[in-house]
């Protein structure tokens, strides 16, 4: 019996609701799949919705639903939104692991778009449903890990996201003649705080001689929010200083990073914050509001602001843009922080975290971030 099971190859099935190109989660999943295959696991990727460009990468989920249960199969579900996959997965007998990429709290969206906000509430609900079934929760940051603990996952481990770095390009910093370029990359959704960047830009350009352009790159999520941003830009007379773009290729994005003088953020909610790592890697100093997972991600590689106060923000920008000593220190710190998130280490960390449930040959166990059993020990015991 033992021998028979040993010969059965371990199969790990990864599930994600939607597989689309230029998507950080897709990158993560594909890298993880390759890494698991490398250590000899049979790995399949299933998705409910597969975009045209990604057709060869994944198997439609409906085909999995017909599979017979297997003792050597493990399931890994990538959670970032509500999906119809969940109700099938919780009915399966195979051990289930959740990798949690964060769900933006509904409150950030409800006043802009109740429709989108209810899909977040759905995700939140499913997170709790899954916690009852999951053998392990994997979180991409400590911030996420704490959310998994609150959602009653019995065991939680940290598994950093797998980031495929952009090619480094040698581009001249744009606007070299007396103007700066600030960059922010993130979907146009209210939790990203674009309006706070625009407000601070109005104050910065009002106060300092050498003015700055703000480049905002990201897809539209909430139309009403985008309309508001455009109105705000016009009202503040910043038409020629704020630039929106979306659908940029990897190469174009590399150029954007390479040509920016600083990466700025007022985001109120990030599950991890991939672009921050990209900024540090491309030697772009960061000024960000310290919210959610951002402090964990950037460490001392950024100026962290305590809130969205526009005067503090504009001042911090001017310090980064004009003080070369500070600038170099941030860049130097940034390089070592970015290195912490390198692909190789992140892959090892993911495998070690998974090994808490999945028997992966030759991989040691990562320590758990949280274990409900140990926490019970802490709460009981003699005085």
């Amino acid at each position: 019996m033992e021998i028979l099971r040993h010969q059965d190859p371990i199969e790990l099935c990864i599930f994600m609701p939607s597989l689309a190109p230029y998507d950080a989660m897709a990158t993560h999943v594909l890298e993880l799949k390759a890494a698991l295959e490398n250590v000899g696991l049979s790995t399949n990727l299933y998705a409910d919705e597969i975009k045209k460009e990604m057709r060869g990468e994944a198997i439609p989920f409906k085909r999995f639903r017909l599979k017979k249960p297997s003792r050597s199969r493990y399931m890994l579900y990538q959670l970032a939104t509500g999906s119809n996959m969940v109700r099938h997965l919780i009915d399966r007998v195979e051990p289930l692991i959740i990798q949690y990429h964060n769900i933006t709290p509904r409150s950030e969206f409800v006043r802009w778009d109740p429709g989108i906000s209810s899909s977040m509430a759905w995700g939140q609900r499913q997170l709790e449903v899954l916690s009852k079934k999951a053998a392990l929760g994997l979180a991409v940051s400590e911030f996420n890990a704490r959310e998994l603990v609150s959602a009653t996952f019995p065991k939680v481990a940290i598994s950093p996201p797998l980031i495929r770095s952009l090619d480094l390009v040698d581009s001249k910093r744009a606007y070299d003649v007396g103007e700066f370029k600030l960059l922010f990359v993130g979907r146009l959704a209210p939790n990203k705080g674009h309006e706070d960047l625009i407000r601070a830009l109005a104050i910065y350009n009002g106060a300092f001689d050498k003015k700055a352009h703000l480049h905002l790159i990201g897809q539209t999520v909430v139309q009403g929010y985008v309309d508001y941003l455009h109105d705000l830009v016009v009202a503040l007379g910043l038409d020629s200083w704020v630039h929106f773009s979306h659908g940029v290729s990897d190469q174009e994005l590399s150029i954007e990073f390479a040509s920016a003088h600083a990466y700025v953020s007022a985001s109120k909610h990030e599950g991890f914050g991939f672009p921050f790592v990209e900024a540090m890697r491309t030697l772009t100093p960061i000024v960000a509001v310290a919210s959610s997972a951002i402090p964990d991600t950037v460490g001392n590689g950024a100026i962290l602001l305590v809130d969205n106060d526009p005067i503090n923000m504009a001042t911090a920008w001017s310090m980064v843009l004009s003080d070369n000593v500070l600038r170099n220190k941030l860049i130097k710190n940034g390089i070592s922080v970015a290195h912490k998130w390198n692909l190789k280490d992140a892959i090892s960390a993911n495998l070690a975290a998974l090994a808490n449930v999945v028997p992966i040959p030759g991989i040691g166990l990562a320590p758990l971030f949280f274990d409900a059993g140990l926490e019970l020990d802490r709460n009981f015991g003699k005085s």
């Binding site: 609150s150 409900a372 802490r378 009981f380 003699k382 005085s383």
Partner: protein
């Protein structure tokens, strides 16, 4: 006839919530009901069944009592059962106390709160040792709630005092120090820093004549370190005794040999150590917060703030007036009597009767059956009185 079974995450000898569950189980068996304790994990190897083995014992008429003092896997298990559920809410600490020291522990407490709300839908009744906790239960959505104070089982802390600990405390008295005592884990909601500051104030005003014994396990690194740093900066390291864990005999020695019990805790669901201190006739000074005012009752001095000078001057006055000390001892005895098993068991019986009526169980329980807990208590009490007079 079904049974009234107990579910509790863990049961350790000497732990407050475990003792409370055991006393209830003990009484239910005396009443003629079948009653077992199921745990999530049998950490102390007491041979108790785990909660997921319950189906082997199940009867559809069973009533299941869950003792909630922390987050555990049991509430979601109970959700899957059709038996009637009762919750005994022993207390959770609000997460904000832990957040600065351990964000994960705080999230764990939040989970416990969520489980209390979850159980509110399902439970036929909620029980809590104090009105303070009952309010939490009502806020969580319980519609039927009953107070049932913790049943005191003096055998837990009434053993012979440990000789060496007794001698240490006696020697301190002999050198002219008064022994201040607080019993409870080193956790932020118990706010031991106020005791240390009161001791500092006492030394400033009345001289170096008191020692503070903090009996309790350290729980959070950051908080323990802060207490230690505070003690050090007030130059009190040789006057504050961090007792990091005790045997029952040592605990008995601390209760027997100390002079004053002082609590500056901010959040308690019942505060058993106060009852234990009253039982030993100590003068009790306590800050009125959480369930403390209910538990202390007429038995001691209530403070509405924690000004170190106020605490120090009360302690000084108590130490310098044998008349005050005697009066407080009398009040403590009176309060102990109110909280004695005779009355708490009568109250528990009422709650059980109400529960059976509420759930339409026509079981014939023998409520006239005297309790061995009462008998134990009376015997221990008598022996204690005798030794007390002797010394």
């Amino acid at each position: 006839m079904g049974a009234i079974h107990h579910f509790i995450p863990t049961l350790l000898p000497g732990d407050g919530s475990g003792n409370a569950a055991r006393a209830m189980q003990h009484r239910l068996v005396e009443l003629g009901a079948e009653s077992l304790i199921f745990v999530q994990e049998d950490k102390a190897d007491l041979g108790l069944p785990t909660f997921d083995s319950y189906p082997g014992y199940a009867n559809k008429d069973d009533i299941l009592m869950y003792h909630l003092a922390t987050s555990s896997a049991i509430p979601s298990y109970l959700r899957t059962l059709r038996q009637d559920v009762v919750v005994n809410y022993q207390n959770l600490t609000p997460p904000n106390y832990f957040r600065p020291y351990n964000a994960v522990a705080a999230a764990f407490q939040e989970r416990g709160m969520a489980e209390l709300r979850l159980l509110a839908d399902q439970a036929v009744m909620g029980i809590a040792p104090s009105m303070f906790n009952l309010k939490d239960m009502i806020n969580a959505g319980f519609s039927v709630v009953e107070q049932s104070p913790i049943i005191l089982d003096p055998s837990d802390f009434m053993g012979a005092g440990d000789a060496q600990a007794s001698k240490m405390l006696y020697d301190l008295s002999d050198k002219g120090f008064s022994n201040w005592l607080f019993v409870g884990r080193l956790v932020p909601n118990k706010a031991q820093e106020h005791l240390i500051m009161a001791l500092a104030a006492h030394r400033e005003i009345y001289g170096d004549t008191a020692v503070l014994h903090l009996v309790g396990r350290p729980t959070y690194y950051g908080y323990t370190k802060a207490l230690y740093e505070l003690t050090k900066s007030l130059d009190l390291l040789d006057r504050v005794n961090f007792v990091m864990g005790v045997s029952p005999a040592e605990l008995a020695a601390f209760y027997t040999m100390s002079d004053i019990f002082i609590s500056t805790s901010e959040h308690e669901g019942f505060c058993m150590p106060i009852v234990e201190a009253l039982f030993h006739g100590l003068s009790v000074i306590a800050y009125d917060a959480g369930a403390v005012p209910e538990t202390l009752g007429i038995g001691g001095i209530h403070l509405d703030d924690r000004d170190p000078i106020t605490i120090a001057s009360w302690a000084n006055r108590i130490m310098n007036s044998s008349e005050l000390r005697n009066n407080l001892a009398e009040l403590a005895a009176a309060r102990t009597n109110q909280l004695s098993p005779r009355s708490t068991i009568a109250r528990f019986d009422e709650v059980v009767a109400r529960l059976l009526k509420l759930t339409n169980r026509d079981w014939s329980l023998d409520f006239d059956q005297p309790s061995s807990l009462v008998r134990n208590y009376d015997e221990f009490g008598a022996r204690f009185q005798a030794t007390g007079q002797h010394s």
